[in-house]
C-alpha cells in the first residue's frame, strides 16, 4: 500500500511539474498575474509529492519488501540497515528518483528564498526548473519505474554486492547529486534571463549563491568518491579518469569557471553572454554525465545496468533541453547589452583567462572521454584514451591556471598595474621557486614535473597569503580590526585558493615521492618504509556480518616506539562469493602508511604476501579540498548574498 501511494505521489508530482512548467510561464509571457501566482504553490506541491514517493521507496528497502522488483534486485535481509537505506539510491531507478527529488528540493528552495526576485524572472526560473523535472518524472514513469511489483516474490533479495557496503560510498551519490543537480538552478536562471532578454548585476548576485552551493556539494561529492577509491581499491590510487569520474569532473570545471565569471558580471556588468553560456554548459554536462552512466555508450566500473532504450530517451531529453537552450542562446544572446571594457591586464582579463583555461580543460576531458566512441563510430577502431593522455593534457592546462590564480586577486579591476604586480609578487614568486627547489632536492630529486607542481603549489599558497596580508595591511597598526572587517566573500576566496594550493602539494607528494614494497612476510619479519619500521606480528580469522576474513596485525614503530598497529583484512563475502581487501591506513600530516594483505604463501599459513605503500603528503590532498569547500561555505555566508540585499542596493 505504501509503495502504491509512493507510485501515485510520483504521478501527482509529474502532473504538478507539467502545470508548473507551462501555465505560469504562459502567464509571465502574456502578463496574466493569476497564472503567474501558480508558480510557488506548484513548486512546493511537487516537492511534497516527490518526497513522499522517495520516502515510500526507502520504506520498502528498510522493511525489505521483496515484492518490489527494485528491492529484490538490490537488497538482502543480511545487509546492515545503513546499507539497506543507501541501497535506495544505489541503483538506477532509485538514483533517478533521487535526481528528481533534489531537483524539486532546489525548485522549492528557489521558490521560497527567491520571493523578492522580480516576478517575471521568478516565474520563468521556476518553470524551467519544473520542465526539467517533468523530463525526469516521465523517464521514471515510462522506463525506470522504481515501484514495479514482482509476483511471485522471492523470500530473499539478490543484492549484496560487498563493494557497495561502505559508508563513503553510501553517501557519495546524495552529496554528488546535491552538486550536480544544483547546477540546474543556474541553468534555469540563465534560460530565464535569455527569455527576459536581460542580464545585469542583480541577476549575477542572485545566481552566485546557488552556484556556490552546488559547487561546494559537487566538490565534496567528487572528493568523497576519490577518497573511497583510495582506501577501498587497495593500492592508493584516487583518480583514474574513468568516464564516470570525468562525467562529474566536467561540470565541476565549468561550475568553477561560472563562479568566477559571475563575479565579473556582478562587479563590472560585462562577460554576460559568456556567463550565460557557462551556466547552460555546466548543467548540460550534468545531464550528459547522467546519460553516459546509464546508456552503455561507454563502459565503466561505475556504470549501472546498461539499456539502450533508456539511452534513447535520455538522449532525446538531452537534445531538447541542451539543444533548446543553446538555440535560445544563439537567438537571444544579442539582447544582452555588452558592458564595460577592460584593459588587457586587469582583474577581468585574468578572470577571462581563468574561464578560458577551465573551459578548455572541460572540453579536453570531454573530447578524451568521447574519443573512443567517435573513433569507433567513424572507423571501427577500438582505442583506449587512458590516464597518460588526461594527465598530460590536463596538467598542461593547469600550469598557466595556477600561475594566473596567484596573480589575479592582486590585479585591480578595469586596468591593473602590471609593473606593480610583477614587482610585488615577483619577490613572492622567486621565493616559492627557491623553496620548491630546496624541498625537491631534500626529497631526493626525481622527475622535473614533480618540482614544477611543488613550485606551483608553493607559489599559489604564498601568493594567496601575500594578497591577503597586503589587503589587511598585516604589519600596520589595527590589523586585527581590518582582518575582522574583511567581507566574507574575500575570505572565502582566499581559503578557496589556499585549499587548492594545499591539495596540489598533496597530489605532488603522493604521486611523485610515494614508495612501495611487495614482499612475502613471515611472522616477526620487519620492513622499513617511509621512515617507519613495520613488524608483522600475527594473523587472525574473523567472522563478519556477511563475510569471513583474515586479519593481519602489523606494529608500526618510529624511532623504536610503537606509534600504531595496522590490521588489514582479506575478506571473502558469501553472496555473491567475492574476495576483497580492506587496506589498513596510518595517516599522519606528513604522509600515509598503507598496508594490504593478500594470500598465504604456504600451507602452514605463516607466510603471507604483503604490499606496503608510503604516500607522502596524502592527507594534504583531502585536507586541501576540505579547506576549499570551507572557503566556499564562508563565501556563501556573506550577508551580501541575502536575497533581499540585491533589491535594496538597486533602489
Amino acid at each position: 500500500m505504501i509503495v502504491e501511494s509512493g507510485h501515485y505521489a510520483l504521478i501527482l508530482a509529474c502532473t504538478l511539474s507539467l502545470v508548473q512548467g507551462i501555465f505560469p510561464l504562459y502567464g509571465a509571457l502574456t502578463g496574466r498575474g493569476r497564472l503567474m501566482r501558480l508558480s510557488a504553490p506548484t513548486a512546493y506541491g511537487q516537492f511534497f509529492f516527490v518526497s513522499i514517493a522517495f520516502g515510500a521507496l526507502m520504506h520498502a528497502f528498510i522493511v525489505s519488501d521483496f515484492s518490489v522488483v527494485n528491492v529484490a534486485k538490490n537488497s538482502h535481509t543480511l545487509k546492515p540497515m545503513l546499507y539497506k537505506v543507501s541501497a535506495t539510491w544505489g541503483n538506477h531507478e532509485g538514483s533517478i528518483l533521487l535526481w528528481a527529488l533534489i531537483l524539486a528540493l532546489y525548485g522549492a528552495a528557489v521558490a521560497f528564498f527567491g520571493r523578492k526576485l522580480p516576478k517575471t524572472l521568478y516565474v520563468k526560473v521556476l518553470s524551467i526548473q519544473a520542465l526539467i523535472g517533468l523530463g525526469f518524472y516521465l523517464f521514471l514513469l515510462l522506463t525506470s519505474n522504481p515501484f514495479e511489483r514482482l509476483y511471485p516474490f522471492p523470500m530473499e533479495g539478490s543484492g549484496l554486492n560487498p563493494l557497495l557496503q561502505d559508508p563513503g560510498l553510501a553517501f557519495h551519490p546524495p552529496l554528488l547529486y546535491l552538486g550536480y543537480v544544483g547546477l540546474s538552478v543556474t541553468f534555469s536562471f540563465a534560460v530565464g534571463a535569455l527569455i527576459e532578454g536581460r542580464v545585469d548585476a542583480a541577476w549575477a548576485r542572485w545566481v552566485r549563491p546557488w552556484t556556490l552551493l552546488a559547487w561546494c556539494f559537487l566538490t565534496a561529492g567528487i572528493t568523497l568518491g576519490s577518497w573511497w577509491a583510495y582506501y577501498e581499491l587497495g593500492w592508493g590510487g584516487w583518480w583514474f579518469w574513468d568516464p564516470v569520474e570525468n562525467a562529474s569532473f566536467m561540470p565541476w570545471l565549468v561550475a568553477t569557471a561560472l563562479l568566477h565569471s559571475a563575479i565579473v558580471v556582478e562587479k563590472r556588468d560585462t562577460l554576460k553572454a559568456w556567463t550565460i553560456l557557462l551556466a547552460i554548459i555546466a548543467f548540460s554536462f550534468s545531464l550528459l554525465g547522467t546519460f553516459i552512466v546509464r546508456s552503455g555508450v561507454l563502459t565503466s566500473v561505475h556504470a549501472f545496468a546498461t539499456d539502450p532504450e533508456r539511452g534513447v530517451f535520455i538522449l532525446a531529453f538531452l537534445f531538447l533541453v541542451i539543444g533548446g537552450s543553446l538555440l535560445l542562446f544563439a537567438l537571444r544572446a544579442d539582447k544582452l547589452q555588452a558592458g564595460g571594457l577592460f584593459a588587457p591586464i586587469s582583474r577581468e582579463s585574468m578572470l577571462v583567462i581563468n574561464n578560458l583555461l577551465l573551459s578548455v580543460a572541460a572540453m579536453v576531458v570531454m573530447f578524451g572521454t568521447l574519443y573512443p566512441l567517435l573513433r569507433d563510430a567513424l572507423t571501427g577502431d577500438k582505442i583506449t584514451v587512458g590516464p597518460p593522455f588526461f594527465n598530460l593534457a590536463f596538467g598542461f592546462l593547469m600550469i598557466p591556471l595556477l600561475l594566473v590564480m596567484g596573480l589575479g586577486p592582486s590585479a585591480s579591476w578595469k586596468r591593473a598595474d602590471l609593473a606593480g604586480i610583477v614587482s610585488r609578487l615577483g619577490f613572492v614568486f622567486a621565493t616559492s621557486l627557491v623553496a620548491a627547489l630546496a624541498f625537491f632536492y631534500m626529497l631526493g630529486g626525481g622527475e622535473i614535473m614533480a618540482a614544477v607542481w611543488l613550485g606551483l603549489g608553493l607559489w599559489l599558497m604564498a601568493a594567496t597569503f601575500y594578497e591577503w596580508a597586503d589587503r589587511v595591511k598585516l604589519f600596520k597598526v589595527n590589523a586585527m580590526k581590518r582582518i575582522r572587517r574583511q567581507p566574507r566573500a574575500s575570505v572565502g576566496m582566499s581559503f578557496g585558493h589556499l585549499g587548492l594550493a594545499i591539495a596540489v602539494l598533496g597530489m605532488a607528494g603522493s604521486s611523485y615521492w610515494g614508495t612501495e614494497q611487495q614482499k612475502i612476510m613471515a611472522y616477526e619479519d620487519e620492513i622499513n618504509i617511509g621512515g617507519y619500521d613495520v613488524n608483522f606480528r600475527d594473523t587472525n580469522g574473523i567472522i563478519g556480518p556477511n563475510y569471513t576474513a583474515v586479519r593481519g596485525a602489523f606494529d608500526i614503530r618510529k624511532n623504536g616506539k610503537i606509534v600504531a598497529t595496522l590490521e588489514p583484512e582479506a575478506r571473502l563475502f558469501s553472496t555473491p562469493p567475492m574476495p576483497t581487501t580492506e587496506a589498513a591506513i596510518y595517516s599522519t600530516l606528513m604522509g600515509d602508511l598503507f598496508i594490504v594483505i593478500g594470500e598465504a604463501n604456504n600451507k602452514t599459513y605463516d607466510q603471507w604476501a604483503v604490499r606496503l605503500y608510503y604516500k607522502p603528503l596524502q592527507t594534504w590532498l583531502w585536507g586541501g579540498v576540505v579547506v576549499m569547500v570551507f572557503g566556499g561555505f564562508i563565501s556563501l555566508s556573506d550577508r551580501r548574498f541575502r536575497m533581499g540585499a540585491a533589491k535594496k542596493k538597486i533602489n
Partner: protein, 173 residues
Amino acid sequence: MKKFVPFAIFCFISLALFTGLSLNPGNIPSELINDPIPEFSLPIVGGESLGFSSTDVKAEEEVIIINFFASWCAPCYVEHPFLMELKNQGYKIYGISYKDKARDTNRFIKEQGNPYYKIAADKDGRVAINFGVYGVPETYVIQDGIIRYKHAGPIHEMDFEDKFLPIIKRMGE
C-alpha cells in the same frame, strides 16, 4: 552567426552519442583476423599425451571451429546447445578448456554433451592469450589455418541464425 557555434557543436556530439548507442564498447574485434593461427601444442584434458596442435588444425581442409570454454563459465552453458547444433550440421569443433580442472571439464562434457571433435587443455591460459582471448567463451572460425572470424562471448540464439551460421556457410563455398 558565431553564437550558433555551441549549438552546432552540441548537435555533432548528439549525433556521435546516438550512433554510440548502437555500438558495443566492450566488444573488441580480433587483431588476428586473416592471420594464421598461432603455433601451439596442447595436452589432452587430465593427461600428458597430445590433445591437438596447430599442425592438426592447419591440416584440415574444411572450415573448422575452435571454441575456448570452461566448466566454471556460466555463459558456456548457454551457448552449448548451439555448439551441439554445429556438430550435428557436420562442423568439426576443436575445444580448448581454459584454466579448468580436468575433473570439472570432464564433468561438464559428460553432463552437457560433447560437441567437440577433439579437446585439449590450456591450463595456464597462455595459448588463449596468443589467440587474443580475453574471456570465455570465445569462438574462432578457421579456414586453411587462417583465422577468419572471432565471436567473443556466448553464441546466443539470435547470433546463431543471423550471423554465425551464414558466415560459416559462406566460407565453406
